[in-house]
């Protein structure tokens, strides 16, 4: 991380409580373009809460979020999306009643004519089906019939669709919350490759993962959270593994 460059995403002093639970406590975070940042931490450390705040799902109680040096008031997910932030959520946020294509293009359907307001355009259904199929194929996940709704699909198939959806539309910042948790060996490989391609295209990438091997393989930097605080930062290399794990687990318990 060079101090001179304007970070693709910066979080400053982020705090968030849910009732009595302090989920985030003055967290600072920066990610450069072309960098993969791993966000690590125990269960319940506040990782998902942090990225939900960045994506506009929750509102911060205090703190600010900057994209390319510009402060953005993340009042809704639509704002975050407009600012170029794409997110794969831990709970996937899929539409069980729609087919993979419908899920893929939800909220940004290919449609025309372009002079109409977005909502009133006529969908180009064939185009959508075609390019959705292509992108899913690239992840090499076997899906049942194209027209099946995703509600009935296996855990891994669902996760693959969610990852494919966000990565296909990535622009400035991509956030992935445990993107490989339910994926098989081969599918995980594809997703790791995908993350590296995103980095090479200049995206600022945040990945949450509990799989230390994956983190060491792809991340340029790792921030560790514990009980809502960012407690440390390491370069993920095999020789640092033990250090990182002890940071995660914490000395005090």
């Amino acid at each position: 991380m060079s101090a001179a460059a304007v970070p693709g995403l910066a979080v400053r002093g982020a705090s968030k409580t849910f009732g009595a639970v302090v989920a985030l406590d003055r967290v600072d975070l920066e990610v450069q373009h072309g960098e993969v940042l791993a966000l690590l931490g125990d269960n319940g450390a506040g990782k998902s809460t942090l990225i939900k705040c960045i994506s506009g799902v929750h509102r911060l109680d205090a703190g600010s979020i900057e994209v390319d040096g510009q402060e953005v008031a993340m009042t809704s997910p639509a704002v975050a999306r407009a600012a170029g932030i794409e997110t794969v959520y831990q709970d996937l946020a899929l539409f069980d009643n729609l087919d993979p294509t419908g899920n893929f293009y939800a909220g940004r359907e290919l449609a025309g004519p372009s002079w109409m307001p977005r909502g009133l355009r006529w969908m180009r259904r064939a185009d959508m089906a075609r390019s959705a199929a292509e992108i899913v194929d690239r992840l090499q996940v076997s899906l049942p019939a194209r027209s099946a709704t995703v509600g009935m699909m296996s855990g891994g198939q669902r996760q693959a669709i969610a990852v494919a959806r966000s990565s296909a539309f990535a622009s400035k910042v991509v956030i992935l919350d445990e993107p490989t948790a339910a994926l098989g060996v081969r599918e995980s490989r594809q997703v790791l490759d995908l993350i590296m391609r995103l980095r090479d295209h200049g995206c600022a990438v945040i990945v949450i993962s509990h799989a230390m091997d994956h983190v060491i393989e792809i991340a340029d930097r790792a921030v560790v959270m514990r009980r809502g605080r960012a407690v440390g930062e390491e370069i993920p290399r095999p020789e640092n593994r033990a250090r990182i794990v002890s940071l995660i687990v914490g000395g005090d318990d």
Binding site: R81, A93, F95, D96, A106, G107, R108, R118
Partner: protein, 315 residues
Amino acid sequence: MRLGPVLILAVLVLVLSASSPYFATTQNLGNVLAQSAVIAILAVGQLLVILTRGIDLSVGSTLALAAVVGALVFESRGGGVLTICVMLLAGAAVGAVNGLVYVFGRLPHPFIITLATLSIARGLALSLSHGQPISGMPHVVDTVGGGSIGWLPYSSFLVAFVAIVVTLFLTRVVWGRWIYAVGGNPEGARRLGIPRSWVLVSVYVCSGLLAGIAAVVTAGRLNAGSPTFGQLAELDSIAAVVIGGASFLGGRGHVGHALVGALMIGVIRNGMNLLNIEASRQLIVIGVVIVLAVESDVVRGRLEERFRALKAAGA
């Protein structure tokens, strides 16, 4: 769409044709279509609402209010187009109140606001009309509501038109897709930048607008606007959607479901009048037939599945 309810409707028609010589006459089929038109139109609106996991209890009262307002405007100003516009606007306005208060008042469920407007719109209709039916409707309204081409009532063309427009809207237009998305996963829709709030508002406005159209048909049929129109129409319209096979869980249903359900209700009521079934028995028969219709669809679906499993195991 599932074919079950259509089959059941067909069985019902066959049974009635066999038991009453009058049932399968063109005249009577025209009657059935005319009698079902209002429920069908309301049910299409209700379907949109149910697709987003909502419920609109106010449709019947909205119909009454729109009809009364229309009749008052016609009485004082005259003019067919104006009258129709006023009725549609009145309907849409109630729908807008439902949608806006529900969404931006962050109410936990649309049951509350639509129950409130069920009461308020009826009260307004009674106040405005001083409790009296107001006779007289412009010629065009009379024609739409009561006229027919041969035995086919105009209102059934209106229903067909509404059904086609809404179907295209739901399946081909972006906003229609968003309606399914919001119904399937409301929080997910928000996260993907779909304007969930406005999608929700829109379905209530559509439901209100369709209640306004239903008001035109009702007022035309009876050549009057009355504050007692549309009583219990909320139950009829919800029942039509559910009997037709749409799901209360959101995001699953088609216009076809609403139409088949509305026709089923219309056919049952018509059949009982034709067979001259005694009033209190009619209530019993309606209840039994509704359950049997839905139940036989369930059984059909299960048999099909069992059969497929057996075939697969045998192969």
